[in-house]
Symmetry: C2
Subunit: 404 residues, 2 copies
């Protein structure tokens, strides 16, 4: 059985994801679709709108056969580490290929760009450093360095977030000499950063989330942009938990921790560097909500995304000492859900898997999974009781794996 | 001007406190009454019902001339350390005497008991150790040890909490050879542990707090047991902040911290000993509120009070490394409020004071005051916005001292 791997967040699953899913299956000529999905905290450092269980269910309903959780130590991370964890997981799962969305749907520019970067790695890193000294954020510095490097070559526009992720996927696969084959399909419409719903049936997840919050969490305004299953799963979620998750729900906890921690304690947290702990402490004391806080700490040097990830690490209490050893490669694969064919696939490849499959968080005794356990618990703590305990139960009591 | 010192909590101020205040002034033949009062967290490890500002106002309205805050590092502590901090503060303030309430109002049994304990200190400590090995809590073991030691002597009943505090006050004064003179007056009615309001106009603070919470925080049921000023100040507090503080308000923050901290981090917290951090982490995950949590962790060895203090230290994030050096003696005196005569007194003694008077928390740059700053901030964090910011403002913005 040929399997294609997808790296996803599905926050929430929408028609663009559906398009990507179908086209990838065709492009890869695959019978099985495997998704590796971020858990409670996403790549951009946000808590997911609804729990990973609801998102895994959306994936299964839309035709994904196996959903695995990208560990927290790879999920709330910059593109390079996020891509490494995801592609290593898909390789371990014996996927024949992985397929990501890109601006023009051609894999060659990614391959050429990868080779160009490999060849000029040192010069490229130097250029990035130079730009960062001028006060630019890492993504901006990398994009400027790349422009200089690629002048005259037919390469990628690395100012597009999807292309940055794409090149990191390709690099993870090629630099590790993996068997998994990189594929890409063209994205249709909807810019990554679009915040408005448009007339076409494809809209960005950002625009869809915005509409959900503006429409009083009713999920009403997104009809036409998401499959029916997304709407019914979201409605069920609001019925069960009364809230959709966003940073504001976690603000009281984050503020408490930033204010009550000592500066040396904050400095132990992953990604807290360059004295920013003092800036965080001053701003937290002055701010009444998360948005106010973020606006107060934002500078040219720190992207909103990077700051959100810092906040996630403070909330989940992940230290440098804990995180850095976990970033080289995943040491387990957490199964969230499967279809009948997914289960069949898993049975056929089981003996070949180089990593243990984990279906119950608390039954797997490894340091590596501790950040995931804390992230899941902290994610539930954003809700008031009795929803908090209900969500905690979903995570730590059976059924441990969704099956459809 | 002759001054008498009182050690108080006023949570809230009631007729029993009024009686103690008037009788102490007479017994000491004093013109000035100075109160040293615990701040946001009390000796028994609870957050105070209303802020220290409201409690200081109650004190001033009832005739206290100067109100000082007992630092957090002495306030949320066992009797010995609490008494040490309080009596050292009153001695530093040049009080002629201090006066505490006791069962029979005679100072001689306290003096005799102090001498007996001094004489047999080693044997006494050995007896305590033996009883603790049997699994008794420290207060119970101390009371048993003392009974054995004092058999046949006319000493104190050290199973009474007020007598325990009294003997610690006397010991703090005498063992340090202080000039301050110990006095006591008899308490009338109302047992320390009474939980019911009675027909007399004196009721325990416990019974009054219980009535306040049972009457929907309206302060209505306590009329007759507290002065008019207590009722109006409490009504104003509820108008301003919409809440009366109790542990349940802080439960989401406490749970978050216990769950997200690592066991070694919890072990650094003051008073976290003997592996209790694991017990706390297990129970926190299972509990939906503070009472449930406390019931789950309570054992014969750990009194409710001691466990509450542990919770306060976790919340305020006070570590052993930070707290232990602060317990020998206070290094500043924090002024909360004064009457006209109080100000006059302060002027006359100012040059003789061995410790700095602090009227603005954030203007006094000392490590010693950091736990107080955190305790005040964390105390405010129990309230939702906008009450939280309003209370924070009261603490960190002018006026810094109440004057009546």
């Amino acid at each position: 059985m040929k399997a294609v791997g997808l790296v996803v967040e599905y926050n929430p699953f929408h028609n663009g994801h559906g398009f990507h899913l179908k086209k990838s299956k065709i492009a890869a000529d695959a019978e099985i679709v495997i998704a590796v999905m971020s858990g409670p905290f996403l790549q951009r450092g946000e808590p997911s709108l609804i729990s990973k269980w609801a998102r895994a269910e959306m994936a299964l309903k839309a035709g994904v056969d196996l959903v695995f959780e990208l560990p927290y130590s790879f999920a709330a991370q910059k593109a390079e580490i996020f891509a490494r964890g995801a592609i290593m997981t898909l390789e371990a799962l014996q996927c024949d290929s992985f397929c990501f969305g890109s601006e023009n749907g051609q894999i060659e520019p990614f391959l050429r760009t990868y080779l160009l970067l490999e060849e000029h790695r040192d010069h490229y890193n130097e250029l990035i450093k130079e730009h960062m000294k001028k006060g630019y954020s890492y993504p901006k510095a990398a994009s400027l360095a790349f422009s200089a490097l690629s002048a005259g070559n037919d390469t990628l526009d690395l100012s597009k977030p999807n292309n940055i992720l794409g090149i990191e996927y390709v690099q993870a696969a090629l630099s590790n000499h993996f068997a998994i084959k990189p594929l890409t399909i063209g994205r249709i419409k909807a810019d990554y950063h679009d915040t408005q719903l448009t007339a076409t049936p494809i809209a960005s997840a950002t625009a869809i989330r915005k509409s959900i919050f503006e429409n009083g969490e009713s999920a009403g305004g997104i009809q036409g942009y998401v499959p029916e299953s997304t709407i019914s799963i979201m409605k069920e979620y609001v019925l069960q938990y009364k809230h959709l998750h966003n940073w504001e729900l976690y603000w009281p906890l984050l503020k408490f921790r930033i204010i009550s921690a000592s500066a040396p304690e904050l400095r132990q947290i992953y990604e807290i560097e360059e004295g920013i702990e003092h800036r965080l402490q001053d701003a937290a004391g002055q701010s009444q909500n998360f948005h106010e806080f973020m606006t107060a700490i934002k500078t040219k040097r720190y992207t909103w995304t990077r700051l959100q990830r810092m906040c996630a690490h403070i909330l989940v209490n992940t230290t440098k000492a804990e995180m850095i050893p976990l970033q080289k490669h995943p040491s387990y694969i957490r199964l969230l859900g499967m279809s009948r064919s997914g289960r069949e696939y898993l049975r056929t490849v089981k003996r070949k898997l180089p990593l243990p499959i984990v279906s119950r968080l608390s039954a797997f005794h490894s340091k590596a999974i501790k950040p995931d356990i804390r992230a899941s618990r902290v994610y539930a703590l954003g809700l008031p009781e009795p929803y908090q305990s209900r969500l905690m139960k979903r995570e730590f009591e059976a059924p441990f794996v969704l099956e459809i």
